[in-house]
């Protein structure tokens, strides 16, 4: 009996070891070229800002962190909540949430469509989704601009068909930012959704519909639970980069309103306040990381149950 237990324990240990070995390359690369260097940023957030960018090494100060949440009055010494930072945060979160929903509404049917093609055609459709993204982000953003502009393709078509009297101002609005980001990040939603839908046995859905389940019910009860992992992966991949989006708001939104990415960039650039930039980005990371951890905790518990 004890011998059997030993064998099981040894097998578990072996399994664990191989799981660490398998993850080693990823962990190593990310450590060297992403997380490790970020220690520098954490350190910077506690230092005194340099006169012209950078920091004064080994002179510590809490000013960077203080300025994340509070601001001194522009013209007096009063201290108040950093209203500017909070409204920028709120705008970014709002736009990112709506973007995620928009990509989901368009992306799910598209992934579903691809997954239900005959197997040898699926890769082709998948390639068709990614091909537009082989052109550079900036070029793509400029191309979208050609569609949105007052004299652009969309407005011209709408006026020609008589649907509009005069051009609709889309460029330089929050709507343009939203649609632009949704366009740019669409494959980040479609591909993970496809990856989990492709495996889905559509006979299950067919069986249910043969048993007179309404389509909405089939979708909710059978398909959605199966694609949940892809759905969550896609939402993460769209939501988080949208929060830090920088190029699209600048070009399509006209740069009149800052988003989080632009605010942080300002501190590392013209603002020359690296400690504040560092502190702002650590705050952002912490918020995102915490919500992700909560999700993983919740989902790995339910995952463990379903796999027995």
């Amino acid at each position: 009996m004890s011998k059997a237990q030993d064998i099981i324990k040894a097998a578990e240990r072996r399994d664990l070891r191989s799981r660490w070995l398998l993850s080693a390359p990823s962990l190593l690369i990310i450590f060297v070229a992403a997380i490790g260097p970020l220690a520098v940023v954490v350190l910077y957030s506690f230092m005194v800002k340099g006169d012209y960018g950078d920091v004064k090494y080994w002179q510590f100060s809490g000013e960077g962190w203080f300025s994340v949440l509070f601001e001194r009055g522009l013209f007096d010494d009063s201290i108040s909540l950093a209203d500017a930072h909070l409204s920028i945060l709120w705008r970014s979160v709002k736009i990112s949430i709506i973007t995620t929903i928009v990509t989901l509404i368009i992306g799910f049917p598209t992934a579903y469509f691809i997954a239900t093609r005959p197997p040898n055609r699926r890769d082709l459709w998948l390639f068709l989704i990614t091909i537009p993204f082989w052109t550079n982000l900036l070029i793509r953003t400029f191309a979208i601009q050609e569609v949105f502009r007052n004299e652009g393709v969309l407005n011209t078509a709408l006026i020609r068909t008589g649907l509009l009297e005069k051009p609709l101002q889309i460029m330089f609005t929050d709507g343009a930012i939203l649609l632009g980001i949704a366009y740019v990040y669409l494959p980040l939603m479609v591909l993970p959704l496809y990856a989990s839908l492709e495996k889905f046995d559509f006979r299950l859905a067919e069986a249910a519909s043969d048993l007179y389940a309404k389509p909405g019910r089939v979708l909710r009860r059978i398909i959605l639970p199966m694609v949940k992992p892809g759905l969550i992966a896609g939402s993460i991949l769209v939501f988080i980069p949208s929060l830090g989006a920088y190029v699209t708001p600048r070009v399509l939104g006209g740069g009149k309103h800052l988003m989080l990415g632009n605010l942080i960039e300002l501190q590392f650039g013209q603002g020359r306040n690296w400690p504040l930039g560092s502190a702002l980005s650590i705050s952002l990371t912490a918020i995102v990381m915490l919500s992700l951890l909560v999700y993983v905790r919740a989902s790995s518990k339910s995952g463990a149950r379903s796999h027995g």
């Binding site: 799981r19 398998l22 993850s23 390359p25 962990l27 690369i29 990310i30 060297v32 070229a33 992403a34 260097p37 520098v40 940023v41 992306g107 598209t110 579903y112 469509f113 239900t116 040898n120 699926r122 890769d123 082709l124 998948l126 990614t130 091909i131 993204f133 052109t135 982000l137 900036l138 070029i139 400029f142 050609e146 569609v147 502009r149 004299e151 366009y183 591909l191 993970p192 496809y194 990856a195 989990s196 492709e198 495996k199 889905f200 859905a205 067919e206 892809g230 969550i232 991949l237 988080i240 830090g244 920088y246 990415g261 942080i264 930039g277 952002l284 951890l293 993983v296 790995s300 796999h307």
Partner: protein, 266 residues
């Protein structure tokens, strides 16, 4: 396929999907059209001409930058996908074990941080390495790209693996197939769509990167995106449209070839 089922052909879904494809290609179409514009600005049509293709072909900086982008992206995407596939195998289809949550957070970390911050951090650290070693080649860019590509490759692969259970692999193992054989013959084919999706995402993300590249690049290492960033202040010429059109044509050619070959095989 003997019988067509209605579930596979949700008419509403098909309509949305086709609209989606139309919208995806609409800006791309305008981009291609303006590549053939005789005028010198994007946006006002002044007749057909190939002058921008000639200009781009003669512009050694654009050609260099394009080739550099096409060197970095496949290598970085390949490294990232290989690493991410292994990591996905190690973090799915298991009871929670110590360190699982940690790995998950660690691997997804490059997503959580705004690019500019990673860029500044990499600038500080990699510059020191450059000074110490005297090596300032493309290795730094490939390494940086591979790192931020990993989560993009990892998430689709993981999503795929989570929908696969271990039954088939266990069956193969019960039939005395060796682990490597089980992996190659059973696991890998099953997870292939996820790997392909992951690789394509990683490739595209690397091809697009501006900010990190801008801070990590050494002398003479402009990629297509950083070259374009430099143009933003002055004027973007249709040369860029011409280059993108060539890019598109090439990728369509590659895809058709790929598709044709795979059809023949089956």
């Amino acid at each position: 396929m003997a019988r067509q089922f209605s579930v596979r052909h949700q008419r509403g879904f098909t309509t949305i999907a086709l609209i989606c494809f139309f919208l995806l290609y609409l800006p791309i179409a305008t981009l291609v059209v303006y590549a053939f514009n005789a005028g010198s600005t994007v946006g006002t049509w002044e007749g057909f001409s190939l002058r921008w293709f000639e200009a781009a072909w003669e512009n050694t900086r654009i050609i260099d930058a394009t080739l550099r982008s096409l060197t970095i992206a496949p290598i970085a995407a390949l490294i990232a996908t290989a690493a991410a596939t292994m990591a996905a195998l190690a973090t799915t289809r298991t009871a929670p074990y110590p360190g699982l949550t940690f790995k998950y957070a660690f691997i997804n970390q490059p997503l959580m941080v705004p690019e500019i911050v990673t860029a500044v951090a990499l600038l500080v650290v990699f510059s020191q390495v450059k000074v110490w070693t005297g090596y300032s080649g493309l290795g730094y860019l490939i390494m940086a790209h591979a790192a931020f590509c990993i989560p993009f490759a990892y998430l689709p692969i993981r999503a795929r693996l989570e929908t696969m259970d271990l039954t088939l692999e266990r069956a193969a193992a019960d039939l005395y197939a060796r682990p490597w054989r089980v992996f190659r013959r059973v696991t890998l084919p099953l997870m292939w769509p996820g790997i392909l999706a992951g690789f394509m995402l990683a490739f595209v993300v690397s091809l697009d990167d501006v900010v990190i590249t801008e801070f990590v690049k050494s002398a003479g290492q402009d990629t297509l995106p950083t070259y374009m960033l430099g143009q933003l202040r002055r004027a973007v010429t249709p040369e860029m449209n011409a280059i993108s059109t060539v890019f598109l044509a090439l990728s369509v050619a590659v895809v058709s070839l790929f598709f044709f070959l795979s059809r023949k095989k089956t």
